[in-house]
């Protein structure tokens, strides 16, 4: 019980910090820092998506970048057609409305996750890891070789997509959008984890045979979890493309899938705010050490290794103790 409260307090503190730092940067006019915080928020959101599959359901997807990238391309392609006033396909117009883009990104990512999940969730362990990786690589090479949207050069978004009532070109506004969306997604994650569905999903990670023996088909529950997971990561991808005003196949690369897994392990697998901490560490490393040495990923790898070896609950586990399900 005490541990539970400790984690709640830690989470509140983290949320406050994620808001306070860019707020301060806004007041002293440091737009770079605001954009960094926005990056953390969006990456964290992508991580929350994966955390649902990996942390709650034990589905170690090594291909979640495919949803991230698909979301990114939704933003890029729709904006591209809106900008050029050409139809996307068969009379369907592009759009520069973020809200519409988000819905499209979530729908398509969910659909793709349903397809990939249906084909891969009968396997487990290393086979599941390899199959999800293979699917993601397939789409990566497809994006790379498809010239209509820039191929390997990627696709720029000349003017950031619009949000009702806010000028999204202002860094602070973009941050607020990302922050609010992250909080909503975190609330969704917490709600799912506490629900009957979440109870079944987490039980399947621990002992799928037992879950089947009480009459719940593990496959259906895992598939539903995988689809929601892909949708969230797809949404984050769309927002990331808007933040960087650029989408390229690298968003779908296996390195990106790896980074999402790293984010979760660093922060604490299955923990609500794990991805927030993980994303902050990742971006922090990139900024602080990326300027000093090209090998910042090596040092990040060392941190990751020590987390795996000495702090299995990640950063949240270190500070808030082991998770208790009650």
């Amino acid at each position: 019980m005490r541990e539970l409260r400790r984690e709640h307090m830690l989470n509140a503190l983290l949320a406050a910090a994620l808001f306070a730092v860019p707020l301060w940067a806004y007041l002293v006019d440091e737009p770079f820092l605001i954009t960094l915080a926005t990056r953390v928020a969006i990456l964290a959101m992508a991580g929350v998506g994966l955390n649902l599959a990996l942390g709650l359901g034990g589905m170690v997807s090594f291909g979640h970048a495919v949803y991230f990238g698909l979301g990114g391309y939704c933003a890029g392609v729709l904006a591209h057609h809106a900008f050029n006033a050409t139809p996307v396909l068969m009379g369907l117009d592009g759009t520069n409305q973020m809200l519409v883009i988000w819905l499209v990104a979530m729908a398509l990512s969910g659909l793709l996750a349903a397809m990939i999940g249906a084909l891969s969730l009968r396997t487990s362990g290393i086979f599941f890891i390899m199959i999800t990786l293979a699917f993601a690589q397939m789409f990566f090479y497809f994006a790379l070789s498809w010239p209509a949207y820039g191929g390997e050069d990627g696709l720029p978004i000349y003017v950031r997509n619009v949000f009702p009532g806010l000028n999204t070109m202002r860094p602070w506004n973009m941050f607020v959008i990302a922050f609010v969306m992250l909080m909503l997604v975190l609330a969704l994650f917490a709600m799912i984890r506490a629900s009957r569905f979440g109870a079944a999903l987490m039980a399947i990670r621990q002992n799928a045979d037992r879950v089947a023996a009480v009459g719940i088909s593990p496959f259906g529950v895992k598939l539903a979890g995988f689809v929601i997971s892909g949708m969230i990561t797809g949404l984050a991808g769309a927002m990331m493309a808007d933040l960087t005003r650029f989408v390229s196949p690298s968003m779908m690369a296996w390195q990106m899938s790896g980074e999402l897994i790293v984010i979760i392990i660093l922060g604490g697998t299955g923990r609500l705010f794990g991805p927030v901490v993980g994303a902050a560490i990742l971006v922090g490393f990139e900024v602080i050490f990326g300027g000093l040495t090209e090998h910042w990923k090596f040092w990040l790898g060392l941190v990751l290794l020590s987390v795996v070896l000495f702090a299995r609950g990640g950063f949240i586990g270190l500070l808030a103790g082991k998770e208790r399900h009650g």
Binding site: M191, A194, F197, A199, D209, R210, A213, V214, G326
Partner: protein, 251 residues
């Protein structure tokens, strides 16, 4: 005579050259405890696996409540009312005893796809869960993660989870294994009551318990049924004495 709740006919299952189940037929009648005994490796767990749906038989059929279930999945069979306990305790390790039972209750209520209401304070789950834990004597341990329960407590929790399903038939695989004599005594009394609720197919090594509980006994050796009948018939069967019971009975 009433119809059997469970009816196996001519089941076969081989692992490579090993015939783990060899032309096994048996029935489970309403209100009875049917004990399945046999030396280690006789194929008892393998047979339970085929009934619960974990292992597909090579041939033969399984009928449950009048329906052919040979091709149904584990989860489908559980939803039809097959409640099993595992020989090696198989629980949700991080979940408390209470939440293990709640999971079974939620499955029976048919609501795995509810995303909004939190389970922790859902009284349709917590209240019956405590009731069931009280029945098996685990109410004092309700909040302990199942991984931290003692061996005997885990055996009881296995039974509690099966109870929560309110099954039409219990499949219990060595529920008494590793329990002290006191625990065995209590479980014997408990199972005697339980059979009024639903018949029990019981795999058990403790012969004392089997003789006290069983209405019928089937003896399995090398995957084959070598004898089947009431306690006295099986006890006095010369083949059984030679193959399995040996001195234990004459002593």
């Amino acid at each position: 005579m009433a119809d059997p709740v469970l009816e196996l006919s001519h089941l076969d299952k081989a692992f490579g050259a090993l015939k783990a189940t060899d032309d096994v037929s048996l029935t489970l009648m309403p209100g009875e405890i049917h004990a399945l005994i046999g030396p280690n490796g006789a194929g008892k767990t393998t047979l339970m696996g085929q009934i619960s749906g974990r292992l597909p038989p090579d041939s033969g059929t399984i009928r449950f409540r009048g329906q052919d279930i040979t091709r149904l999945s584990v989860a489908q069979r559980a939803r039809m009312g097959l409640g099993r306990s595992f020989q090696i305790s198989s629980l949700i390790p991080e979940y408390s005893a209470r939440r293990n039972v709640m999971l079974a209750l939620q499955a029976r209520q048919g609501h795995a796809y509810r995303f909004v209401m939190p389970v922790r304070h859902d009284r349709r789950l917590t209240e019956p869960a405590i009731e069931i834990l009280t029945r098996v004597g685990l109410e004092g341990r309700a909040s302990v993660p199942s991984a931290e329960l003692s061996h005997g407590e885990r055996r009881l929790l296995e039974i509690a989870v099966a109870l929560a399903l309110r099954p039409a038939c219990f499949l219990l695989d060595e529920p008494m294994a590793g329990m002290g004599t006191e625990g065995v005594g209590r479980l014997v009394t408990f199972l005697k009551d339980l059979k009024q609720e639903a018949p029990i197919l019981l795999v058990e090594h403790d012969m004392d318990a089997v003789f006290r509980l069983a209405d019928r006994i089937t003896v399995l050796v090398y995957g084959r049924v070598i004898a089947s009948g009431n306690v006295d018939e099986v006890r006095n069967d010369p083949e059984v004495r030679r193959a399995y019971l040996g001195d234990e009975v004459s002593a």
